[in-house]
């Protein structure tokens, strides 16, 4: 059994919220606006609601197997081989989204801040930090998330608050966007934006019982929903939705527009640090989750020897995509649109199989 360390509800909520909310800093909001128009800010609430519903299945699954994490449950319910495949899919998925997220971050950073720096340098530095934190272990990552969460939250809210002067309330209309049906469909489909709450189930052993996981998961999704919705509402009020679809990082652009006289303007530095540190936490946690699942699959007791090779894999995977459009329209769009299959559908399948088996066993016991 890998020593994962322990953490409480507050830390878990902080970590998952940071992982989910960090997406707002990148290209996802522009994509969402592209599909739902001015209804984006409540479309994300529909996504959050769907994710809450999906997380319920995970909770029910964990409740049936107290003291076990999701990966162990896969093996118990599906057997060693099919469970191994399910775990493998999860492991690859987390490493893949970490790599995609890293590449997206590096591209956005190049666009706005370091236009002359090569991608390999930006990604290399990031991976250097990720390697060190991975070595420190899950406890360190989670605690750092908790420690930085108030700062990130204050920065996040203050950017929206300071953008008040640029708000044009007529931009919220048409309130139904491209229509209720479109909003609803995209809202449900993009529930994977909140799917990272699943990592609580992967690290179930680190939290004190299923009730804690339930509380942490629900709270994280709920808070993330509110925060993302508020940010999207700000974008909608600042930029016409036709323009917003074209902007790489709406949050960064919105921060640049803040202007309260000669010396209170261009508050990029405030945003820059919360953006960077939030992303660092998110990617490190996702990557660590992937590697942790991999170690579970192969019964590797000590995660440390696997970390440096895995980080090299992360670096290589982040370097694979050819250019930014492939990242945005391919990877990001794909993971948002179909991520729910992995996050929610796979645990649901396992839950159904588990319940059917239990019924069978009960029936058999009654007949005997």
């Amino acid at each position: 059994m890998i020593q994962q360390g322990k953490f409480g509800i507050h830390e878990a909520v902080s970590l998952v919220t940071i992982i989910i909310v960090t997406k707002v800093f990148f290209t996802s909001p522009a994509l969402l606006i592209q599909f739902t128009g001015t209804a984006n800010w409540y479309a994300t609430l529909i996504s959050a609601g769907t994710a809450l519903f999906g997380f319920t299945f995970i909770y029910l699954l964990l409740k049936d197997y107290p003291g076990r994490n999701l990966i162990e449950i896969f093996e118990i319910v599906l057997g060693r081989y099919i469970g191994f495949i399910f775990s493998g899919i999860f492991s690859l998925w987390f490493i893949f989204i970490a790599a995609a997220f890293l590449r997206e971050f590096a591209e956005v950073l190049r666009v706005y801040v370091l236009p002359l720096s090569p991608l390999s340098f930006i990604i290399g530095m990031f991976v250097f930090g990720t390697t060190i934190l991975s070595f420190m272990g899950l406890e360190s990552i989670v605690r750092f998330a908790k420690l930085s969460s108030p700062v990130i939250f204050i920065g996040y809210i203050s950017v929206q608050f300071l953008s008040w002067e640029n708000y044009e309330f007529h931009r919220i209309f048409p309130i139904y966007g491209y229509g209720i049906k479109t909003t609803l469909l995209h809202g449900i489909a993009r529930s994977s934006a909140y799917g990272e709450a699943v990592i609580l189930a992967v690290f179930a052993g680190s939290l004190q019982g299923v009730q804690h996981i339930k509380k942490a998961g629900y709270a994280a999704i709920f808070i993330s929903g509110l925060l993302i919705s508020s940010a999207l509402l700000s974008f909608t009020l600042v930029f016409p939705y036709t323009t917003a679809q074209e902007i790489t990082s709406l949050m960064y652009q919105m921060t640049r527009l803040i202007d309260y006289g000669r010396f209170v303007q261009r508050l990029d530095p405030i945003f820059f640090f919360i953006w960077n540190i939030g992303t660092f936490i998110a990617i490190t946690a996702l990557f660590y989750t992937g590697v942790n699942i991999y170690c579970h699959m192969f019964r590797i007791q000590d995660i440390k020897p696997v970390l440096i090779p895995s980080n090299i894999v992360l670096f290589a995977a982040a370097m694979i995509p050819k250019d930014m459009p492939i990242i945005i329209m391919g990877y990001v769009q794909g993971t948002r649109q179909y991520g729910w299959i992995i996050y929610f559908l796979m645990p649901l399948i396992v839950l159904i199989i588990s319940r059917l088996r239990k019924k069978k066993i009960k029936k058999g016991a009654v007949q005997v």
Partner: protein, 578 residues
């Protein structure tokens, strides 16, 4: 070079993880008890030398040797023969080579042979002359025949000394003589008397030099262990305040006092402290800083995990919270464990100030330390990578002042930083008489002359000056050291990749710091992880709101105040009659 190659090789080759015994402060005592027992078994031999039995044939003993071996006491136990004891003591203290050791042979009441042994300079000679030798040599103090053991008679009737101890082991006697006691050996007795005669020179109690306060107590620890313990006992007049002594350092055998309050402190912490102290296997342990390095959880981390303080009042308040204080003989500092990051930002001043002023002071200090750590790095990042973030007027000023400077900003900052560090170091080492001259050198050469020579820009001078002020605002010397190192890290990362580089540095340093534990207590508790705590982390809440001891210490007695600490505000007191 080979070390670097080995380090790189170790990163890529698998090694069995070292089974280092971690310590975790657990809620349930049963679990930790088990662990403690396990550890106790293992640590029993800690620090002990592995005993190797020489194999081979022993030569047969002679008759005299056989008789001597048969009649002599077991190894390390005093003999009843005075000459044997004298020989052994001389052997132990390397007499006559060691001229500090005084062995005075005499006759008790002109009858019984005896000798005393003490270290010259460690004892009060007046006590030895007037209350030991005079009493023992005076026949009037003794009857013609002594019933029972002479040792017993002398202890009960002759020596008018407040502390006497009878011991039977050479080891104990030697150890106590080394710490200033006098040992009396009497012919025919297989035990000696240890007489309290300590009286070496010591510094008087002075004002604190590192942790000065305006409104608090003006006493600091001295190098004398007994004085330091007394200073704490004067503040905590509690029968449950326990002082235990452990000897640290294989060769120098320094006395280390472990102070805690029985009934408040979690016994697991005390057990762990003792385990670590007993596990120290090094020849010399001096003063606090040295001990801290030997017992802290992560010695390679940048942050201090043991709180070092020179103030008895601060030590007392920390002991009252359920912590353990360690005081080593010869060090004017107490080491308090467990500790957290936030305690390193606190001073005694806040406790003596009203809550809002205390909070204000903390914010100022916190801001100062933040500025000290990050400002040079931020300046490098801004001027090198993010010029667009600087308001135009300011950017023009910076550009104008840097026009004739031939160095990149990083070099400018490093020149000034290293110069500043040199001045600081020189200031500490120099005699106080030359102090003002150093200030002049610093101000003139590093300030005006460097700017006039176009080696650095005036803005750098301002940046470094603010950085220096910020670092001096830090109340904790070891933490200020850490900040100094971190400043260089931020500067280098800022030069490598601007704000992005600084973010990477924050992430790495913050993450590493979050992984640190001090005696099983996470470094950033009660914020990360979140635990119950009184309003005394960053904001110094009112004293009467601090009703509970920190939860992360798992104290046995959590409450430190009643429901209403300002009981007089209840209005009508109990027992009041109209």
């Amino acid at each position: 070079m080979s070390g670097v190659i080995n380090t790189i090789k170790n990163l890529f080759t698998y090694k069995e993880p070292v089974n280092s015994e971690g310590f975790e402060l657990l809620e349930k005592n049963e679990v930790s008890d088990e662990q403690g027992e396990d550890r106790g078994d293992e640590s029993e031999n800690a620090g002990g030398e592995p005993t190797k039995r020489k194999r081979g044939k022993k030569p047969p003993l002679k008759v005299e040797e056989w008789n001597e071996a048969k009649n002599s006491p077991p190894e390390g136990i005093l003999s009843s023969d005075l000459n044997t004891n004298l020989k052994k003591i001389k052997q132990e203290f390397l007499v006559p080579k060691n001229s500090d050791v005084v062995i005075r042979e005499f006759k008790i009441a002109q009858k019984i042979n005896a000798f005393i042994v003490f270290i010259d300079g460690m004892v009060d000679k007046a006590v030895v002359n007037d209350f030991v030798l005079r009493q023992l040599m005076d026949p009037e103090n003794f009857p013609d025949t002594i019933q029972g053991s002479p040792v017993e008679y002398i202890v009960d009737n002759v020596l008018a000394i407040n502390q006497l101890e009878r011991v039977k082991e050479y080891e104990k006697a030697v150890k106590e003589v080394l710490s200033g006691l006098t040992a009396l050996f009497i012919d025919g007795c297989s035990e000696c008397i240890l007489i309290e005669t300590r009286g070496f020179e010591k510094r008087s109690i002075e004002k604190p030099s590192l942790e000065t306060v305006i409104r608090g107590a003006q006493e600091a620890f001295t190098e004398n262990l007994r004085t330091n313990i007394t200073l704490i006992r004067r503040i905590i007049k509690n029968r449950h305040l326990v002082t235990e002594f452990v000897s640290v350092g294989k060769t120098n055998n320094a006395n280390c006092g472990i102070m805690y309050i029985e009934g408040i402190v979690n016994p697991d912490i005390v057990k762990e402290v003792k385990r670590r102290l007993e596990g120290i296997d090094i020849d010399l342990v001096m003063g606090g800083g040295m001990l801290g390095q030997l017992i802290e959880d992560s010695p390679f981390a940048l942050f201090p995990q043991v709180l070092s303080t020179e103030r008895p009042d601060r030590t007392a308040s920390l002991i009252m919270e359920g912590r353990v204080a360690l005081i080593v003989d010869g060090a004017p500092f107490a080491e308090v464990v467990p500790t957290t990051f936030f305690e390193h930002l606190h001073t005694s001043e806040e406790a003596f100030s009203v809550w809002y002023f205390g909070t204000f002071l903390r914010f100022v200090r916190f801001f100062g330390m933040l500025v000290s750590a990050i400002l040079p790095g931020m300046y490098i990042a801004l001027t090198t990578y993010h010029q667009e973030m600087i308001p135009t007027d300011l950017l023009a000023t910076i550009a104008l002042t840097r026009e004739n400077v031939p160095f990149p900003v990083l070099v400018e900052v490093l020149i000034m930083e290293i110069s500043f560090e040199l001045i600081r170091e020189a200031g500490i080492r120099m005699p106080t008489v030359i102090g003002p001259a150093l200030g002049i050198i610093g101000a003139l050469i590093l300030g005006q002359a460097a700017v006039a020579a176009n080696l650095v820009s005036p803005i750098i001078i301002i940046i470094i000056a603010i950085t220096g002020l910020g670092s001096f605002s830090g109340p904790n010397y070891p933490l200020a050291f850490s900040i100094r190192i971190i400043r260089f890290i931020f500067s280098i990362f800022g030069a490598i990749a601007g704000f992005y580089g600084i973010s990477v540095a924050i992430f790495i340093i913050g993450g590493v710091a979050c992984g640190i534990k001090s005696f099983g207590v996470p470094y950033f508790v009660p914020i990360a992880p979140r635990t119950k705590s009184g309003p005394d982390i960053i904001i110094r809440g009112p004293i009467w709101h601090q009703k509970e001891r920190p939860d992360y210490l798992n104290p046995l007695d959590k409450k430190r105040a009643g429901d209403n600490a300002r009981g007089w505000t209840k209005g009508e007191q109990k027992g009041d009659k109209k």
